[in-house]
């Protein structure tokens, strides 16, 4: 779901642009470091491939068909940093040339699809890749689509686009169906690619870092569910903090949120340090 301009309120798109810009710079640097020369054209051609592969219809059941979204496939084939970069490039082209997603909303769309979506795919592939590859790839496809869609929905709700409970449940149901379809299509596509040349699809990382992947995925899912809950029922959070929205301005609220995230991050970091020290001792 590409959000066009005009839907997100100014604080929402501005915050997400500010978050996405350094994140894109970071993934670009990562991708550059991991990439040999011959992979630069490869990344571009893979982006074009995803565009083209979206035209192939996968028949599912009578009269319905789905198509590949491709985030998880790119993550499995190219690795997370390169996949995120390629998806960002696709989103920029879609926003400017194909009128699919807005220019100011680019930060939001990059955050939902190229950052959070790829993170979900990467973490699930890493977490379950050793146990069962098919399950891992299915989860990567399904979770990446579900994450992106739920985040987009949450952002629209926070921006004040009104939705009744019925519409909300219907769209969540639709997201679930398309997430499951993406999972199945990604598994089928990866299998077809591996049949042609197994070397094209890299294996998942060794299992030693499963805890990190598990915690990361759990954190990501918590953020997504939290965003949705917060956007559906802001009243609860207001009651929790004991003040109405009107009493604070949006920069204060944003800063408060960011401070909270930083605090949680610091706690997780300390806990991880402690754990690794105990293990090495």
């Amino acid at each position: 779901m590409h959000i066009p301009d005009g839907f997100l309120s100014t604080p929402v798109w501005a915050t997400l642009d500010v978050i996405s810009a350094p994140a894109v710079a970071w993934t670009a640097r990562r991708a550059q470091r991991d990439t040999q020369d011959h992979r630069i054209p490869l990344l571009g051609v893979m982006g074009a491939f995803v565009f083209a592969a979206q035209m192939v219809n996968f028949p599912v059941g009578p009269g319905t068909s789905g198509h590949l979204v491709g985030g998880a496939l790119l993550t499995v084939v190219l690795g997370p940093a390169a996949a995120s970069l390629v998806l960002t490039a696709i989103l920029v082209l879609q926003a400017l040339i194909f009128q699919d997603g807005g220019v100011l909303a680019l930060g939001a769309n990059i955050f939902n699809m190229a950052l959070a979506g790829v993170a979900a795919a990467y973490l699930s592939y890493r977490l379950w890749g050793q146990a069962s590859r098919s399950t891992a790839i299915f989860a990567a496809g399904a979770l990446s689509v579900m994450t992106s869609a739920c985040l987009a929905l949450g952002q629209l709700l926070i921006s004040g686009v009104p939705m009744t409970a019925g519409v909300l449940w219907a769209s969540l149901g639709l997201f679930l169906i398309s997430a499951l379809m993406e999972g199945a299509i990604t598994v089928a596509a990866v299998r077809a690619i591996e049949r042609l040349n197994p070397a094209w699809v890299g294996g998942p990382q060794p299992a030693s870092s499963r805890t990190v992947a598990g915690v990361g995925l759990a954190a990501l899912i918590l953020v997504v569910v939290g965003t949705l809950l917060a956007s559906i029922a802001p009243d609860g959070i207001q009651r929790l903090t004991g003040q109405g929205v009107d009493s604070t301005t949006w920069p204060q609220r944003t800063m408060g949120g960011l401070a909270g995230i930083a605090m949680i991050f610091a706690l997780c970091y300390l806990a991880g340090k402690l754990k690794s020290r105990r293990r090495s001792a």
């Binding site: 020369d37 893979m46 040339i97 009128q99 807005g102 299509i185 299998r191 077809a192």
Partner: protein, 230 residues
Amino acid sequence: MHHLVIDRWSRGSSSLHQRDPRAKLAALLTFLIVLSTTRPAAQAAFAAYAVLLIITASRARLPILGLAGRAALVLPFSATFALLTWWSGDSLRALALAEKSFLSGMAALLLVATTPLTGWTAALESWHVPRMLILVIQFVYRYLFVIAEQAQRMRWAALCRGRGSFGLAAGLVGVLFARSWQRADGIYHAMLARGFRGRFVPAVPVPLGASDALFLSACLAGCLGIRILL
């Protein structure tokens, strides 16, 4: 044969085509930010923005109906949400949603219809967008239609052989992937044969001219004037 009409438009020679891409990109961002912060109740402002875009398009000698038709690609999405908003009783806001998304699409189109891809990517690069991202954008755009056409041909061939199935579609994606991968290899070797040494030489930035500054200030004055007065 796919051929993007925007590519043809962007090779025009009007005064708008000759402006520096950085000035046009800055003007686009100003317009979008001003549009985004306009209140739904200020319907006169939306009409004025539309007039501003029409004047710009006619200065660039672009077909206005063609532009509007392409910008209307956003309407299915925004109309859905506009209807939802309408049902919840906020008709003014519903109208503003559709108008904002349509005008934003139209403004972005005006940029790419007057600036070739190399122009606006160079502008992005001068604003320190990572080089790697710029390169990937250029490669995706260059091979987009080549590979899409290949996919289309393969799809037709598969349809001619019989009814599609899930497995068949997966095979199609697999073969398309293999061909793309081999094409990327070929591209890299062709680049090496042409003297590619592992990095691209960045273009030397040219300072903005007086007419570019004039264009940008006219755009700023137009947008802000409408936003404040109406």
